[in-house]
Point group: D2
Chain length 473, copies 4
């Protein structure tokens, strides 16, 4: 699976108690850049004033020394947002900073609310105006509601209204609050640097970059507060009354291989997926070849278990930027070629096991297979380290529409023909779940199984939010 | 007075019923660029969807062919915003497009509300969130209020709540509504092109550029609707129950000399101001010299009435851009020198009458006087075509703080000494008012006289809005 | 005449003996920006190393603080180059810095060599390669020629080979040399600041900006050396053996009104041209209107002599940038409209004398006349403060091709009809020459009279250089 | 070895006989981007006019659709240039297009001339001027020399004067000529597309991208001509009279793993280097870890031969751009951390064999080792797939100065201590040479052995060229 196939998620980072809070957040976002390349933003507080800078593009493009210098304050939250094709609206960039009756607040969000449309309609009926098409604006509207403001724990109260997947960072003038939905769908971790500074991040790779120690996950239903007293915790949803529904796709594709997600290292999980795949779907082949970079860990596992030597079949072009001119409209596979070059001598005349983490639309996978064929591959046995993706995600993964999913209404045999491979096998759902430590039923497998852990009214899906009549660019 | 001295206002343009509505609006804003250089924006509607593009900078920088091509629709509103030094927040750029219970709406505003802070506090207490520090967001919040939505004429009802100076454009999916405050403080005019297309603009110079005929002003308290039925009108405030308070400063400085403002040509008014000034404050001098460009029309009038020949004393550098590096911090007058060069042969050994439209801080005026002295001017008699500015404006002119006004707590003699001129005279308030056609009492003269036409609670001035705790950049 | 009509010349600036030499040169070029907007460049020397930075665009765009900081050294030369439509080749930007047998040298040039093609062919035959299409590269090739290097005064020897118009600045590691052609076609002046620093500039307006005193012109045929000994002089062509041929067009259009050119103030000369024009071609009219900005001084003179009041007919839009989108292809006059707005009340129902400095193609003039007509002008009497331009310039003015000149093969009556004016009159050649102090025969009038002061082989005109087969962009 | 350690070479591409020649060259350069990221350029010819566009930055940044559209013509040559830290002079960008007595010519060069300074001094003595500090300008000066022009084969004659490493592309209006030095130091290959179009490239990966078949190498001393007759060949230096001296470093580090260089696949050679390294320097360890990306192929070979499992120790951040802000000055290792994240779970508590292709300065290698140690690596056994680099390269590899080479005047034991590894071993020179097919004596091993294949006068090294007194930026 490649970056053309699907949109990616968001990344969060927060730190409290350092004069260089913005600088640390910049580094943290840098390490989380794989979770979103559309926009980046940082908000800081010095105890009174909240300062925000957001922009379209990569972290290194949005922030220069000047911008960081102006983001004064000893606490900061940051956000990177997934890339989309059509929209580039700066107003949707996060953190979203607003003023309400209690003063300013800034919010950053990773996930997707399934009751967003309902809440929005309700608030519009109450007279609210909305300037963006993001869920996040609804969350701060909830927070500003007078009856919520009056509660003993307004934030905890508000979080109880949200349905769906969410990891949230709130920057108030005097503190940071970090929350994770009761199902624990998306990851969120707590770290501490050598000097005792607390931070929160989507993945541990951000902690590693700033030399912070990984302490533990934010628990499902938990609110963690970072303020001058240090780190404190409370639950807006009592633990263990909801069965966790951790997104397996974080392990399969999203997260950085170096990260610890749901208390397991991603690369090790992927290697196990490859090993299990080798057991479930052996192949009579000369070499194992990975689709870079997403299939590399699983391919290593497949090779290890099968005994078939791992070989480099592709070289990735590290200079493919966003300004690239496509060779021509009709030549659909060329974009693949610009990113990956086949090592002819590795594959010519050989029987290959080609391992990737997933197949979404199938078109880029097909392009890569064709490139291997042209280079002389004698047989191609495709092995995929997750089951066929057949259902939409309502919890934050931006798959294409169901109709565009290659596995939607298609058998594995049909896909095999479409890809023109000699054999095709996916890991089984049980096999995949056996590769993660926690119990199978503690995971969300909706995109594969169609079993949605949160009761969803499909008539008000997230897509309806995009039907609004604002277009800003 | 020069561009360094004070912030400028905003400019508005709207057109209904042309497939090239965005293109016409682009041209209209171009002609209004002198009213604001910080940001520019256009919103269009095709009857259903509202599309918006805003950006920091000049009209020609914000919009390229690509942006205009995406702004499809047969109606459009546009806005240019005044320049500020510290802030460059894209979120404050207009038109502001939001979604509320009745669908999308886009708003553009020229002026200043004096009850903005009160309204905002009230709405925050009701649970509203605010993302900008602009008055405009409050106006759309008022529009979205359920009890307002239920009124027979929600817009007319809402406009009744606003206190202060406002010209407003509202783009609904199916129509444009243009409104002017009951005091008629800021100008707003109606035009029609040869093919019958209706448009609205801050000044007639925008009509000239697109070859539209000037029809009439939008009246104080009037709402003008442009839709498929053509142009219709209603009043949210009955005409003639409020005494008009037209801003004389529009004639003195703001408006384009070619424009018809308050039904009088600006250049002709300025010439009359110069003539009156010559009568009130004659000088024994060899030549009359204008401070470019703001003093040119008045200087022409002064010369005409006094018989003293008009001479060019300065040449303006047309290539001073915003990226200019100031020569050095200590050399404060250099910025003046980069913009204006003295024609030594015009002034050397001569006694000059130097005419400008106004003096705000006095520092740039002083720099220009010094340049004339260095070039050999024997005597300098400064004549100013408006009275001393001594009071803040709460209706949309962004003067510096009262303490920074050179005439605040200073006599004309003191200013004369500060500027180091041989004589200094301002036109009298009566003299100034005698140069415009309408009755003296139909104008706002607050910045000169301290008499504010709208009862103002000074403890909740517009400045308090800037005390909020959001800083976005 | 407006900026659309013809290309403009180049501007030169040099200063020796100040640690902030690059900064002073930046300011000097700023004041000379009207002489060229295509590219800008500065070269500095610290006594050993020559550092150069050039770029496309305005001085303020090419140079930031960083670029200036890197241009260390106590001497500097700078250049601004005229704007062209088709080409934007950075390789033609100046100063041109090269290394030859005697070390590095940097050269900046204003003018045009008429024997460039001949010299170039000759040098190519000797084995030289050329990387640009500019004359300047030929000049340094001449300087590098071994037989020239061996001369007692190589530079003086080389300058003797050049035919045409040239003002040249040479930056050697230890000194600056400034030279002017024996005919003195283009201006070049010497200045000195209060602390004794010597500088050289195309026009005195650059001296004014840096508070330098105007000392004198560089004489025709003179080489002025700025080095640690101060300013010294020698002649490569003995004075007075060549009859001067000063370009009158510098006074008519090119130079800044504030400048002293050929020892006369430009604005005063233009005023005299206007007065003479009033004598030669009176008109029965109500007001005199200038075409901004080039016609303003002459219009003032015309009004003064004729007694017809001067009135503002146009307002210039100061925000027309280079990124402007033209309204549409068919609407040819719109570009004029975007730059100039007519003050309807000034011209409506009136009989106008419209004064401009010159008419080149005639198309933009026609657009302006049409705008006045549409605004209600009853009669338009066009008066031009130079004679009809009918011949090409081989000395540095980039007129369009002869066929594109409106006055080429057309009588004044024909032009009058083309412009659709009620009357049209040009100043006479004798009249024009009577307005400058020096003898008529000491000027070049080739573009009007066809009498070329330097014998020119027309088969090898400057245009042939552009026939080469390199296109860089 | 990483991108911080040393400058990289240049890449060449040429194609004849296609209307989309510029587009194909764009793609070819794209595939060669790893050979140079400082500047990119393309020159085309339509049979008469040569058009050139060059710019600083990546291919995708320098060329947009507009630039490609203007590069009309059925033949093209292209160039990417290595990145440097200090200089960013557009004048050094290639292809270099000049005009000489025979018309225009454009040249692109990969390599380094060792007699450049001598030739340049000689030509300066003859009166030549030089505008760049590149060897390439000297080559075209040679071509323009009248006595050379008169030869039956001027190009062949000129190439005989050049000493050093060079692959050269010449674009004449009617043809392309491609040449390789008699020692064959740098690679250059010939390809042909399915429709019979000939092309030339530095590496075969560029042929793969445009679906061209690899035909053969350009032979040492050969000139290949692409024109309307197809591809023809001649030798300017008879084959086999010079012993080849192919640069082994192309295989070790430079070339793309997918390329066929000197008729061997780079990845396969690197794998053999890793296998040989495992034989020469076994280690008692748990896993083999590669330094990404340069050490990956060798690590695979080491693992294969040693039987120690290959494991991913690092994840590379693909979003590290050039605008990255370094965390702080003192934290020297942070740049490494921003690019590579350690997978803690892979290395914690384990004994590692760490494989890289080479060590230049040693500082970035040390940073990576430290990162592994911090992640818990129990033992680190460093293995390097080329011998210690101790001598400068005069043939095109931009190593740092000899003093900066970690292996200069240091024993392997000293380096082992510096890196703080448990053991350190380099492959032997004989071992390395045994991994390439051709005879050992047919290779250049100067940077390791100090044995230079071309007699070099070290007093006139390439570095002296940089001592010139021009600095352009």
């Amino acid at each position: 699976m490649g970056p053309f196939d699907k949109k990616e998620e968001c990344g969060l980072f927060a730190v409290f108690g350092r004069p260089d809070a913005a600088q640390l957040t910049y580094q943290g976002l840098y390490a989380l850049q794989h979770r979103g390349q559309e926009s980046a933003g940082i908000a800081t507080s010095d105890g009174e004033v909240i300062r925000t800078h957001v922009g379209m593009g990569l972290v290194g493009e949005v922030f220069g020394e000047q911008e960081l210098a102006r983001l004064t304050g000893h606490m900061a939250i940051g956000h990177v947002r997934y890339s989309t094709t059509g929209s580039s609206d700066i107003r949707n960039a996060q953190p979203l900073t607003v003023e309400y009756s209690r003063g300013p607040v800034s919010v950053a969000h990773n996930g997707n609310l399934i009751n967003a449309r309902l809440l929005r309609d309700e608030y519009e009926a109450y007279g609210h105006i909305f300037q963006t098409s993001s869920d996040t604006e609804i969350i701060v509207a909830l927070l500003a509601k007078p009856s919520h403001v009056a509660k003993p724990d307004p934030l905890g109260h508000v979080l109880g209204h949200l349905q769906g997947a969410f990891c949230l960072l709130f920057l108030f003038p005097d503190r940071i609050e970090a929350a994770r939905d009761p199902f624990g769908i998306r990851p969120l971790v707590i770290g501490r640097t050598g000097d005792g500074t607390w931070c929160v991040a989507s993945e541990t790779c951000a902690l590693d970059l700033i030399d912070a120690e990984y302490i533990r996950q934010v628990e499902p239903g938990e609110i963690v507060t970072l303020d001058r007293r240090g780190m404190t915790s409370r639950f807006f949803c009592p633990p263990h009354i909801v069965t966790p529904a951790k997104c397996v796709f974080e392990h399969v594709y999203f997260a950085d291989p170096s990260s610890t997600v749901f208390d397991e290292n991603v690369h090790q999980v992927r290697k196990r997926l490859g090993m299990r795949l080798a057991e479930e779907a052996p192949a009579d082949a000369d070499i194992v070849v990975a689709i870079p970079d997403s299939g590399r860990s699983a391919a290593m596992g497949y090779s290890f278990r099968s005994g078939i030597p791992l070989e480099r079949g592709f070289v990735r072009n590290h200079y493919v930027g966003r300004t690239f001119i496509k060779p021509s409209a009709q030549d659909r596979t060329s974009a693949v070629k610009m990113k990956l070059t086949v090592i002819r001598q590795s594959v010519d005349g050989r029987r290959l096991v080609v391992v990737d983490d997933s197949i979404v639309r199938g078109t880029t996978t097909k392009g890569k297979i064709q490139a291997l064929r042209r280079a002389g591959a004698r047989e191609v046995h495709m092995r995929v380290s997750c089951p066929p993706i057949r259902h939409p995600c309502f919890y934050g993964v931006d798959f294409p529409t169901q109709e565009e999913l290659i596995a939607h209404n298609r058998s594995v045999e049909d896909i095999c023909k479409f890809l023109d491979v000699d054999s095709l096998a996916y890991i089984s759902l049980e096999g995949m779940l056996s590769c993660v430590n926690d119990a199978a039923e503690h995971h969300c497998t909706a995109c594969w199984s169609g079993r949605y852990p949160i009761p969803t009214d499909f008539t008000v899906s997230k897509f309806s939010l995009e039907r609004n009549q604002l277009q800003m660019f």
